[in-house]
């Protein structure tokens, strides 16, 4: 490996570049908050906790990200995993009974039970199988909290492509969810 001139992000220690993180941090936080609003009320992760959970995992991820877009994509993917795993854990807990009442952030009345989140996850998996490109858009929008222009930038597509793709994806998911 060259001793000089290597890209600043390739520091080789497995940590995300802190300077990079500083730039995107508020985005991550907004993203976490956005996600939590679609989660159930006694979700035991606060947005901040979710952010840090994701951050912890991102820190352990030994792949490098080359740019901000890459970072955001990875973050959205990580958020998705964290949430899904958490929903699965909640399901198990539910099965085992014993629910302690907690007050928490909510919600616009959407996807309030872990079952719901998992159902959406299944639909996204089905979409991934036939159209990975659209699944990426869904992931960025649902788990990444990105708006269409941001998704267009992150996926290097035109805004129009993203907007239409989103509607197609949405219809696919709705169809799948309806069974």
């Amino acid at each position: 490996m060259a001793t000089s001139g290597s890209a600043p992000n390739e520091r080789g220690d497995g940590d995300p570049d802190p300077s990079l993180f500083a730039a995107v941090e508020h985005e991550l936080h907004a993203l976490a908050a956005n996600l939590m609003r679609t989660e159930r009320a006694n979700h035991t992760l606060q947005p901040t906790a979710l952010l840090h959970e994701a951050w912890l995992r991102l820190s352990r991820n030994d792949r490098r990200w080359n740019d901000r877009e890459h970072f955001v994509r990875t973050a959205a993917r990580t958020m998705r995993r964290v949430l899904i795993e958490h929903a699965r854990a909640r399901m198990r807990e539910k099965r085992d009974g014993g629910n302690r009442l907690t007050l928490s952030t909510d919600l616009l009345g959407r996807a309030e039970a872990p079952e719901d989140l998992l159902a959406v996850e299944h639909a996204i998996e089905a979409l991934e199988a036939v159209d990975p490109e659209l699944a990426r858009i869904v992931e960025l929008r649902v788990f990444g909290g990105l708006d269409h222009p941001a998704i267009a930038a992150a996926t290097d597509r035109s805004l129009r492509t993203v907007e239409r793709g989103w509607r197609a994806a949405r219809a696919f998911l709705a169809r799948h969810l309806r069974g």
Partner: protein, 828 residues
Amino acid sequence: MLPETWQRARAVFEQALDLEAGERDAWVRDQCGADAALAGEVLALLRLDAEIQPVLDAAPVLRARDHDLAGATIAGFQVRRRLGSGGMGTVYEAQQERPQRTVALKVLAVQFPSERARRRFEDEAEILARLRHPGIAQVLAAGSARLDCADVPWFAMELVEEPRPIDAFVREQRLDVAGVLALFAPVLDAVHCAHQHGVIHRDLKPANVLVDRRGHVKLIDFGIASLAGRDAVDRCTRTGEILGTLAYMSPERLERKSLGDETPADIYALGVMLYELLAGRSPFAFAELPPARAMAELLAADPAPPSRCNLAVPVELDWIVTKAMAREAGRRYASATEFQADIERFRRNDPVAAGPPSATYRLRKLAWRHRVLLGAAATAFAAVTTGFVVAMVGWSRVATAEHQAQRKAATLREVNRFQESVLFDASGGERGGDVLLVDAVDRAAAAIDERQFGDPVAEIGARRAVGNALLGCGRLQDAERHLSRAAALLAEHNIDPGEGWQVLVDEALAKVHEKQGKLELAEREARRALAVSITIYGDGADTTAIERHNLATLLLERGTGHAEALTLATHALRAFERQPRSVDERTIHARTLIASALAGLGRLDEAEAAFTAAMAEAEQYLPPDHAARLATLDAWAGYLFGQRRFEAAHERLVALVAARERVFGAHHPKTLSVQSSLAATQGELGRYADAEATLRRVVAGFDALGVHGIEHVKAQQSLVATIRRQGRAADAEPLARENRADAARRLPSDHWLVGVVAKEHGACLRELGRFEEAEQALLEGHALLERIIGADDYRTQRVVSELTALYEAWPRQKEAEKWRRKQTGHER
């Protein structure tokens, strides 16, 4: 659906979006031609698109419309100004008309709330209304109002006047320690009240504990909203805010291990808060660090006790704060009331329940600096701290008379001071620089011998602590000396077993003797520890379960009482499962023991299932390098090895070696002992060169550590055997001789390993044609093994084969025939 089918449908669908709704139907049918299925698919998608558009896109739009209601009148409340918002509610300062008062008014921030959102909002008001406590902002009224053509629920809470976050208040008022404790008591009480109603706050931090104009504390923001006073603390930058929250997040929450009861996480946050109020700074110094570092800092470092920042903080408060902030949720106060009770005890000058934390504290910090030597020692010191807590609990039950209590508090202080000084030394102390822990422990050991203790119990405690530390460093003989002295003192001074020391000393002695191979002795001690624990702590107590667990471990090591071990481990597991967190490292340990016991009983299917279950549980609940997870992996590998499934065992051992190296470093006894197992597996797989290389590393590691016990002899024995099997008896023989001398010097004379080592030397000598010497070594080994493990054991049988081979090679046929007849066919 096939990807191609979908792509076609998608293409038609996307184009149809450009058309007016009325034109789409005909256009789609036209595009799809004869493919009616495709047309049906696209039309279905278009219908769904129209249906879900408002549903899915509603949320962001509605959120954007969260406008300020200042100036409006809602249900008789004149809204004055917006105080903050969060979640689904926005909080305003408002004037109520009747009765005339200023309130905090929370309004659902969504314009067209779903039924569920509305219900949740109302639940929140109801729950808050149930929490009647002067330290919790009270709900005054609730209802719903017509707002922009929609019914919007609201509730009014008492307004915290001139709110200041508790930390700002303490700074402003320059409160001393007593003042801080007085201010903090109602906080604990309020949190306890919430907990009793099943409400976990989950976001306790100074910004959510406000002090009003009259100096009364109010808990706000039960995870639902930012309430009155938030703007007073809104000066935080975003980064600061995140880190501010982070600092109060318990390790299990940070690592997301927390399942079930979340009370301990609140207790932790309260501990951090009290720390901050006492010390005047956050326990975690990461304000300047980038977030990734801050996370690492939080997960890795243990803060110095608050007294380090504020000399006015007495050591008991250090303990109390540390107990509340314990990394392991189970070690924290079980409730806010217990926390408060301990503070009260301190204020009354009674001995507190929290023990001295400094051992683990300093050790952990130190451990990050030299990870090589410290793993085992850290474990030992953690045991010391736990031991103290256990001992103190036991003691507090017995000690009724006041003067007795005081005497013992003095004793404990003496022990603690001693440990403090030792550990201060270990952490570099005033000498500066890094001091190896072994050296520190050595100095501590020497210091005990010189020191005059005012109280035999203090000396017992100190010797036990040092003995345990020496045990952790692998210095068995020295450990035994101190622990035996402690045992002798217990007897000499007739110390009541009810004080708990007997159990602790027996427990530690049993571990030393187990490691020395004096298993019978160890078993006696472990049994006594269990019996005493049942008497003083009760059959169902945690301590008793731990003693059961220890005895089970020992019986498995002895290889004798598998059935009893199974009963003990099952019993212990049940006790551990009754704890608040029904799954933790102890339950996983216990499951592993059960699996090993089942294997020992030959119930292989059940054992296999139990191992799989234990491993699955460990993987689910414990981080990858957690000690209990590795222990399970270790036991499983051992089982697979015993089943001669060497490939499977090899795979697990490789993972285990890597993990141990990460956790403890390459030259730690624990790493080395797994490497020995790995080498044995490599040997069984016929990979002798690999095995030899591994074993040379192991032996070199033990030499570097100055560890010469059973493990060292075992490793050398394996090395000799590996070299010899490669046809290099001449290389092997000098090592074999050395190892035999080592075994004779370091192991009890009736340990089976002494016989095996003699046999190995004999085999080398035979291959070199030195028959007389070989004969002597083999006969010696055989006599020993036959006496202690019986003629039929495979190890004895190997000597028999060796002797047969020797006499055949010599040749002395008559003897060869005699030994051949002793073979029972057990030899593989």
